[in-house]
Symmetry: C2
Subunit: 287 residues, 2 copies
Amino acid sequence: MTPAIRSKLAALGNDLSPEMVQGSIGLMAGMNRGLSSDTQVLRDISYGPDPRHRLDLFRQGDTRRAPVFVFVHGGGFLMGDKHTEGSPFCSNMGDFAARHGMIGVTLTYRLAPEHRFPSGPDDMAMAVDWLRANVAEHGGDPARIVLSGQSAGAVHVAGYLAHRGDHAEGIAGAALMSGIYDTHTCSPNASAEAYYGADRRQWGAASCMDGLLGTKVPVQFSVAEFDPDDFQQQAAQLVEQWYAARGRYPEMHFLAGHNHLSPALSVGSDQTEVERMLAAFVARVAG
Amino acid sequence: MTPAIRSKLAALGNDLSPEMVQGSIGLMAGMNRGLSSDTQVLRDISYGPDPRHRLDLFRQGDTRRAPVFVFVHGGGFLMGDKHTEGSPFCSNMGDFAARHGMIGVTLTYRLAPEHRFPSGPDDMAMAVDWLRANVAEHGGDPARIVLSGQSAGAVHVAGYLAHRGDHAEGIAGAALMSGIYDTHTCSPNASAEAYYGADRRQWGAASCMDGLLGTKVPVQFSVAEFDPDDFQQQAAQLVEQWYAARGRYPEMHFLAGHNHLSPALSVGSDQTEVERMLAAFVARVAG
């Protein structure tokens, strides 16, 4: 991250205001190279009964039993999409996977308030079921699936590891960017209330913390320098509790100069630190 | 860090045995490009009265008021040197600075058990005094000094920030790799006893933790995946206490695939993540 880009992101502030979100997307879109000409995309494959149970597949060339890299978008449980016409996002994450010789998958999931916890973990399980049954046909290895997610997407992947632990057995790894892991300690807000319900006393059962501390799936975490306070608190708590539970420091990366949105948005630009971080993790756990 | 090199480092184990130390140095020396032909070196400049008060200066071309990057070696307070004939270490750290347009400085300091706390912070202050008075003559900017250190070197730099806080005012930044920050909680060992004294009850006064939590100097921390337990514990504690004190997550980098020694040893090889991490920090705080 260059000091000049860091300054522009810093000027947008840490809070998830519409100006910050649009400013970050605009800045990072202008730096993105877009889909590689070599990348083939299959869009809107259905992985379940809901219209939001859709995924896009990305590959380059004739892969065979390649690692599968799945990206789950954020959006506060309430919004977001795997692909926006005219925007490089989030197809940039599928393209990243394809450029690295993997099968890329971007997907959508059901949204709150219509769909509440555990809809996220359930949708992840459904997508994994589809991949386990079908990704080999598309050149992927169902035994080498790496899940990644940002913000609410990280919460859904973490929720899948924590609350569908048996189903997640055999997942090669999970890369969680700027997530909320403990619903006991996170700050209440409209997004969380939409997904977890209005009664805060019920949220505890949805916490991913204990499940993450116990999972056998390798997990890579990251927190951004300009993440809002809640995400910084969660990252610090995760480090503390992970060390207490496991006696080792977790793979928690600090993304200097990044804000809540920019890590995933930087993939496919000249700011390569996040791309390198993710690629190194996949090479290790699914290489 | 490639999976192949990570495996070799992992096979050496986390403990600081002679085999692990020699194995790490051997492996990483074989990957090092050595001093750049463009780098000019001035060796063994005295910055104080002791024979160990010596520093080497590195530069490329005719710099003027360039940032100054200082590296302080490790060695358990008991050993270590800024330069070993026939080895790329630690001149690789000075060369790194020179390649990035900075003045590089590597230095030695007095050793335990002859010299005990606060000899480390005092030696850092003496070296900074020398640089403030003299580095401009060599093309450096005394207002843009960045200190870095590894292991005991990180402890001495942290000790300088914590125990010589007034003197450290105006230091542009500090990069601390795999240090021990809290002498209340660190495990006792022969190295620490040699430096802090045999009476553990006296160690608390030497702790850097409170001083680090209060310093205005920007600090970059890092912890390695295969750091011994004590260093992992210290990193986790630092994250926890920093968040509690400052309400922000610290700049604590996780160096995947590295052990206690390899981060600094990797500088000047094709494994560029540590070099990028340090260069980005210097660009931000002293660019």
